[in-house]
Amino acid sequence: MAKLRVAIHKLTSCSGCQLAILNQGAQLLDLLEDIDIVHFIEGGLYEPDASVDLALIEGSVTTPEDLQRLQHARSNSKLLVSIGACATSGGVQALRNMQDERAWKQAIYAKPEFIDTLANSTPIKAHAKVDFELWGCPITIEQLNNLIRQLRFGTLPIDNKEKLCMECKRRQQVCVMVTRQAPCLGPVTRTACGALCPAFGRACYGCFGPSEQPNGKSLGKRFAGLGLMPAQIAQRFASIHSQSPDFNEQYHHWQALDPKLSEEDKQ
């Protein structure tokens, strides 16, 4: 069977998801028996125009160049898979979408006119057809390898949107929300991380993005019951996946209930 030709593109990101390749350890050599990486700047391969079977896109679209490169990648590849929070929902840098971005740039950079960015940080699917998404900040090696394996078997992985709680319970971890009143996002967050945060005795902050049917409204109310102020609840949803519609909705809902804000609104 011919090897799978793969290109790895990075748009605006922290480079953490690409490490799912470089952090494989010795089994990377096994993986390379099956795939031919033809473009991977960090790995020293520069062939942006090569046509490939699979393009993995890390990062969000935040500049006109990002957009161009994405369109290029799309037209050069049979399958396009976005990897990581930036690519699937805009990522952490999408927090700026909620603010006045121009004022921000001015504050950090004395000469903002040198810097060319689009107004928002947006996910890949906002600009191009996406064949599959690997959620997670960062994605895990298992997610990536499973994708590649399933492609080798002639199919795509099952898109598992199950809730983190299921994984947490399977690992027989003790629920931190019930024992510690920790405002855990597990019940609205996608599985796949290994339920890491609860394992460390802390609340999930949703880095794998919204799960299937997230009942954020009920969870937010529960957070209020645990003593969180509306603004704090809003902040829980405004973390790594602030621009995913489900979390965004909760952010705005709770932010609007912040007494300070509504004071300002009245004025």
Binding site: Q27, K169, R170, V174, V178, T179, L219, R222
Partner: protein, 366 residues
């Protein structure tokens, strides 16, 4: 039924005897803010002087004034994960020179003795037996593990606020299903023998007969635990009326609160749903078929091509309650709820199964 007495200091002797018989001994310990069942090195690891304070959506351990080892009622899990593992390889497929071959996988099985299980855990075990071991397709690894099991039950001397086993008829004292059963008193344990295996261990312990006074204390403890229970699940006949309430508005009300997270089904000692996944190695040479705990609250549970049959949270909660409390009776001859209260304590948004069942069946207005 003759009862024996084991002085408090000699609990270690029981553990030693079990170990000498070849059992790994599993008992309650405090870990990550809860009572969990784990391998015990010795009796000092038991949760002396610990009780739980549980309420809908809350579980906290607190120090009590006494120094008893079994004053708690339940932890997040009982026996279920040991017999029906949350994740288990069923078989492996391999590409070999002889073509595709399949090999059954057997988990390493060793005899285990559990100390500290409750009446509700035993009732749940009986139900899991019916599902996994007694049907037309018995689960071989469940059966194998089950046969090796030795059970030292403990009768509850108090009830947590989430307990309601009295109303389901499953507790607070164990009547059968154990090898040995303890009543914990301040100075030691009354021991009741429930099987030949149990008798063999009891003989080795060289026990004295329990005095009438001690037995009276145990009876009082039992009565106290009964009286402490405030929650009451409707009786089975009443629960059967749920099947006529498919259109009740209440399902919608619950769905507004329910996260469909599956925590209730995961902690429930009788829930048995599972799903399977194929995990291939990186070379695509071998693949293992893995069975994982699943829940009727997940979307995939009722998925068929083109649709999700129970697409709404209200329908999933309805499935859970309808199955657990009513249809279970038709499948296994009794309700699937043993009154342990785990689903109430471990529901992140504090949904109370008893309250919902009463509202639905009896029109109670909580």
């Amino acid at each position: 039924m003759t009862q024996h007495f084991l002085p408090k200091q000699q609990l270690q002797l029981l553990i030693d005897c079990l170990r000498a018989e070849g059992y790994g001994v599993i008992g309650p310990k405090v870990k990550d803010d809860a009572i969990v069942f784990e391998e015990l090195a010795d009796a000092t690891e038991l949760p002396y002087g610990i009780e739980e304070d549980s309420a809908p959506g809350r579980y906290q351990l607190k120090k009590a004034r006494h120094k008893r080892a079994f004053a708690f009622n339940t932890g997040p899990q009982g026996l279920k994960p040991f017999l029906f593992a949350p994740e288990q390889e069923l078989w492996r497929a391999e590409h070999t020179d002889d073509g595709l071959i399949f090999r059954q996988s057997f988990p390493a099985i060793r005899p285990l003795a559990f100390i500290g299980l409750r009446a509700c855990d035993l009732a749940a075990l009986a139900l899991q037996d019916k599902h996994f071991a007694e049907g037309p397709y018995p689960d071989p690894s469940y059966q194998a593990k089950r046969q090796q099991l030795f059970i030292v039950a403990v009768n509850c001397s108090r009830s947590a606020s989430t307990c309601f086993c009295v109303s389901t008829g499953d507790g607070p004292s164990a009547e059968s299903g154990f090898d040995l059963c303890l009543d914990e008193l301040d100075r030691g344990y009354l021991i009741n023998v429930g099987s030949d295996k149990g008798q063999r261990i009891a003989d080795k312990l060289g026990l004295e007969a329990a005095s009438g006074a001690k037995r009276a204390v145990a009876t009082r403890q039992h009565q106290r635990a009964v009286q402490q229970q405030e929650r009451q699940m409707p009786d089975e006949k009443t629960l059967m009326t749920l099947v006529d309430k498919l259109d009740d508005q209440r399902w919608q009300d619950i769905a507004e609160r329910c996260l469909a997270c599956g925590n209730c089904t995961s902690v429930c000692p009788t829930c048995f749903c599972s799903k399977q996944e194929s995990h291939s190695d990186i070379k695509g040479q071998a693949s293992s078929q893995v069975r994982l705990w699943d829940s009727c609250f997940s979307e995939q549970h009722s998925y068929i091509v083109g649709k999700v049959i129970r697409n709404e949270i209200s329908q999933r909660y309805r499935q859970w309650v309808l199955h657990k409390l009513a249809n279970w009776q038709l499948q296994y001859g009794r309700s699937g709820c043993v009154g342990c209260g785990r689903c109430i304590a471990w529901c992140p948004v504090a949904i109370d199964l008893v309250e919902e069942a009463r509202a639905l069946c009896l029109g109670d207005k909580p």
